[in-house]
């Protein structure tokens, strides 16, 4: 109020120094200025307000520097200032309310007029007669009125929209809660969705929960919300950092010699991000600034190759907002991943690589063992020269091959999958990492190998393995193996297995990390951790090598444990079946799961304990196999694989054991499968002899013509091979025999046909 009075006093004094008309004109100017001030308001204030002179004046004087009022500034200079201010404020006010631009076209027209009035002001106004000034005043009043009415209307609209938004949030919240309940997410009742992060800390967790559920929907977080989410999380995660100050320093143009040195490294990598569409100079400029800013921010880490890929990836998501990209980069590197992931020794990274190898043993025991075997073999074969007359005997025993997974996991982790996953999948993995923690880095890595397992098991040397990996990685990156949505289902399935109640405790990533970070052993020499003891499963020898079967190794204790398994497994099962229902494409998920778990035990996580269980129950199997069998072949286009593992409904009706074949992929030539079945008994017998799974090679014609070939056992490999004139057509089929709840399953995997057949028989 005091301000207002002063201002009024000044104004009137100014008026007295000119003419009366001048005074009224001055106050109109003030009024008009206020009108415009009000224009700015809707952005900040919720309540509509009328442009009243006193309010306006108060604001005006507040807007001007107080000192100018206190000093002995003349009335003219004050007027001058007011006018300048008004003119200045105009474009600013327009710019600050872009949403109103279209609505207030009329308003801005008025304003243009006003400005014109103002423009001719001082000198002209002074020269005007009182009548003219009255007209000007009337005009201005009228326009002010129009503008304020418009403003009120717009504010109403805004309120209504805000109300609608809240209602939409409410609906979405309900949907999410429903989904969360069905999915048994913890704390589903509390979740509360809003787009922007709420300020209060208790609402924060509700908000986080809502987004977490949203991210796990089959299609994940809508693309246009991701920027909001990431920046909110980054802001929250890095709230200790004073960004307003930092950003200025970090993005400053001034560069030190250190920066120069970093700069040359960074420039070398700018065009090597592997990101398409990152080619223009301008984009490179932004990328370079972000990378340099990060290096300045965290001097200890500086620039690590891989950051270029991370930053390019982030920049795409935040639409080249460099400040935001930097914040997110800081959030990922310094606040999400374990410390020292990228800094000079990279020891947290090597820790995670070790954790990954360990998790593989749990989730994909067969593949882990296969890789270990290849590794050991490679350790002997490198540098070895061999020929048919010169058997491979002169090998160096000192040879050493690092764990096979390392080459890839290092890249995956350093680029947080931006270099291996399709963009879409990668964004969703990052969502998960941001929302639920960096453990997802490991789950994702396991998922990648899970989807490749089938093909990787066919490799016979380390070099083969590496080549297959690069090929498969390329396919994965182009989303040829599976869609992003399917891949994420695999990731979440792996994550969810941690909540299953299993006898073998699921390894806890954080424990493993702690264990391995300071204590890294190469694969094969890792001390067995209490939490995740695992007996490696003997694996299929490959026909090309004279591999030998590993003796069955199941201790009494595990037998006892395994007896309890079926029930628990069933629980896990229901969840899995639920997954099948929920995903957009049944058929494709089926494929996913087949690929993921090799179709064998359905849940990759179950494989460990299940294998023990299967072997234990294996003795029942012979009694069934020797009975006369009636073969029943049943084909589905989108076969419910889950059903294959549930007790057969017709089971009780049929007194004789029968086989049911499900084909997990289209298209099917049904006859061929019954043909394959005719060889089935042979295989079963073989299997019985070896009590092992084995690999079998069939030639293409065998499958296509449906020859009733029994195949011939080829030596110790327990592999059936049918010779064929066209050797290139040899298809490898993986057979496995599994027992579950007194049902027996034989799984054929035909990698080249991308098909998995499951035969089940029951007593």
């Amino acid at each position: 109020m005091a301000d207002k009075k002063t201002s009024q006093a000044k104004l009137s004094s100014c008026g007295s120094s000119m003419s009366d008309s001048g005074a009224s004109a001055a106050s109109e100017e003030g009024e008009e200025g206020g009108g415009r001030e009000n224009e700015k308001d809707p952005d900040k204030e919720t309540a509509a307000r009328c442009p009243k002179l006193d309010l306006v004046l108060r604001k005006k004087s507040g807007g001007l520097s107080v000192s100018s009022l206190d000093s002995s500034a003349s009335a003219e200079s004050l007027l001058e200032e007011l006018l300048c201010d008004i003119r200045r404020s105009r474009p600013a006010s327009l710019a600050s309310t872009p949403t109103f631009l279209s609505c207030s076209e009329r308003g801005s027209d008025c304003e243009t007029d006003c400005v014109r009035d103002c423009g001719r002001s001082e000198a002209e106004l002074k020269g005007m007669g009182i009548g003219q000034l009255r007209t000007v005043l009337e005009n201005l009043e009228h326009e002010t009125d129009t503008v304020s009415r418009l403003l009120v209307r717009l504010l109403h609209v805004r309120d209504k929209r805000a109300g609608r938004l809240v209602a939409q949030y409410g609906k979405l919240t309900l949907v999410l809660r429903h989904f969360a309940r069905r999915n048994s997410f913890p704390g589903h009742k509390e979740l509360q969705f809003t787009l922007h992060r709420p300020e209060s800390p208790d609402q924060h967790s509700q908000w986080l929960a809502a987004w977490t559920v949203l991210s796990q929907l089959p299609r994940g977080i809508p693309k246009h919300w991701r920027k909001t989410l990431w920046s909110s999380l980054a802001e929250y995660g890095t709230r200790g950092v004073n960004w307003t100050v930092q950003l200025q320093n970090l993005f400053s143009e001034f560069s030190t010699p250190e920066d120069e040195k970093l700069g040359t490294q960074i420039v070398k990598d700018l065009h090597r991000t592997g990101t398409t569409g990152f080619s223009s100079e301008e984009e490179h400029g932004v990328l370079k600034r972000v990378l340099l800013a990060y290096a300045r921010y965290n001097k200890k880490t500086g620039y690590c190759q891989g950051f270029n890929i991370l930053a390019a990836f982030i920049l795409k998501v935040v639409e080249f907002d460099e400040a935001m990209a930097l914040m997110i980069l800081v959030y990922v590197v310094d606040h999400t991943l374990p410390e020292n992931y990228f800094s000079h020794t990279l020891y947290a990274l090597s820790g995670d690589m070790a954790v990954f190898r360990h998790l593989l043993k749990f989730y994909l025991p067969e593949l882990a063992l296969h890789m270990e075997t290849l590794q050991k073999e490679a350790s002997g074969t490198i540098r070895k020269s061999y020929s048919s007359e010169n058997p491979p005997d002169r090998q160096s025993v000192h040879a050493y091959e690092p764990p096979l997974a390392d080459v890839f996991s290092m890249q995956w982790f350093l680029t947080i999958f931006a270099s291996v996953l399709p963009r879409k999948a990668c964004r969703r993995v990052w969502d998960a990492i941001f929302l639920e923690g960096s453990e997802y880095v490991l789950y994702t890595a396991v998922a990648i190998l899970a989807v490749m397992e089938r093909d990787l098991l066919l490799t016979s040397t380390a070099a083969d393995f590496y080549m297959a990996m690069s090929k498969l990685s390329e396919q994965l990156r182009k989303a040829h193996i599976m869609s992003s949505a399917e891949f994420l289902q695999v990731v979440y399935a792996i994550k969810r297995t941690t909540s299953f109640d299993s006898d073998e405790p699921v390894p806890v990533v954080s424990d493993l990390r702690e264990k391995f970070t300071y204590n890294i052993y190469p694969c094969g020499l890792q001390p067995e951790l209490g939490g995740a003891r695992k007996e490696p499963r003997p694996m299929a020898p490959l026909p090309s090598r004279g591999g030998s079967f590993t003796a069955e190794s199941s201790c009494d204790e595990s037998r006892k444990r395994s007896m309890k398994l079926p029930e628990r497994r069933k629980n896990g099962h229901d969840k899995k079946m639920w997954d099948v229902r929920e995903t957009p494409s049944k058929a494709s998920l089926q494929k996913t799961l087949c690929v993921g778990g090799e179709g064998d035990d359905y849940s990759t996580a179950m494989s460990g304990p299940l294998h023990q269980q299967l072997r234990h129950l294996g003795k029942h199997y012979s009694s069934i196999a020797q009975q006369p069998t009636h073969i029943h072949c049943d084909m589905h286009l989108t076969p419910p694989i889950a059903r294959a593992f549930c007790p057969q409904q017709q089971k009780d009706r049929s007194p004789v054991p029968y086989y049911t074949a499900y084909a997990a992929d289209v298209p099917l030539k049904v006859i061929q499968q019954s043909r394959v079945l005719s060889g089935f008994d042979q295989m079963v017998k073989l299997h019985e002899q070896r009590k092992e799974q084995f690999m079998i090679s069939f030639t293409e014609p065998y499958l296509q013509t449906g020859e009733t070939g029994e195949g011939g056992g080829s030596g110790t490999n327990a592999a059936l091979t049918r010779s064929c004139s066209n050797q290139s057509n040899v298809h490898k089929i993986i057979f496995r025999f599994h027992v579950f709840q007194h049902e027996f399953y034989l799984i054929f995997t035909l990698p080249l046909h991308r098909r998995c057949l499951i035969f089940s028989c029951s007593k």
Binding site: K268, G274, I382, Y400, L525
Partner: protein
């Protein structure tokens, strides 16, 4: 079965050098016969396989290990040096600093891996991006011969992955040297098979402790 007496060799070869000298490009050119200016920077290590029909009786598989140039990966990548029998050390003719780093890479190499007879593994120096040589610093090319002798390089080649210059020749030269080494190393110890098998089992756990 098919070829009686056909020899097959598997050799592990390292490709090292400073960041951005074109190691990956050289490998892609050599293995896949194409060049693109838009490779991803190598993170950690990468791997490629090249099969060479050396002569009628010899097939050679080259495992090419592409080692990231950034210093900090050194810790992680050094395990891949083990058992290498040859190396390419690459520098960029347009950047003097990468040439200066060659010494460092060579010393590093000799430090980490040796042939079974205790000698340094054969290394070939590649002066890459020679298509851009006009802007390069290599004034007197003959000096490089002396340099190689001094630093213990087997040979050096001007290469360009972009224009496909010199890479095949460099590889042949290195492989020839490796084969030559192999002969001399392998011949002195023709016996002892039985013992080795036992040894191998006994030593298996030991050999992995270096990680």
């Amino acid at each position: 079965m098919a070829a009686q007496g056909k020899k097959e060799h598997l050799y592990k070869i390292l490709v090292i050098g400073d960041l951005g000298t074109g190691k990956t490009s050289i490998i892609k050119r050599y293995v896949h016969q194409f060049f693109s200016p838009h490779y991803r920077a190598t993170i950690g290590v990468d791997f490629a396989l090249k099969v060479l029909n050396w002569d009628n009786s010899t097939t050679i598989r080259l495992q090419l290990w592409d080692i990231a140039g950034q210093e900090r990966f050194g810790n992680m990548t050094r395990v891949y040096y083990k058992e290498a029998v040859g190396a390419f050390v690459v520098f960029d003719v347009t950047r003097l600093s990468t040439f200066e780093a060659v010494q460092m890479w060579k010393a590093d190499l000799d430090n980490k891996v040796l042939l079974p007879n205790g000698k340094a593994i054969p290394a070939v120096l590649l002066a890459n991006k020679c298509d851009l040589a006009s802007e390069g610093f290599l004034g007197n090319i003959n000096q490089l011969d002396d340099y190689c002798r001094e630093k213990g390089f087997h040979a050096w080649f001007e290469t360009s992955a972009k224009e496909n210059i010199g890479i095949e020749e460099a590889a042949r030269s290195l492989v020839a040297k490796i084969l030559e080494n192999d002969e001399t190393i392998d011949h002195p110890q023709p016996d002892g098979d039985g013992i080795r098998v036992g040894e191998e089992d006994g030593r298996a756990p030991k050999k992995t402790k270096c990680c």
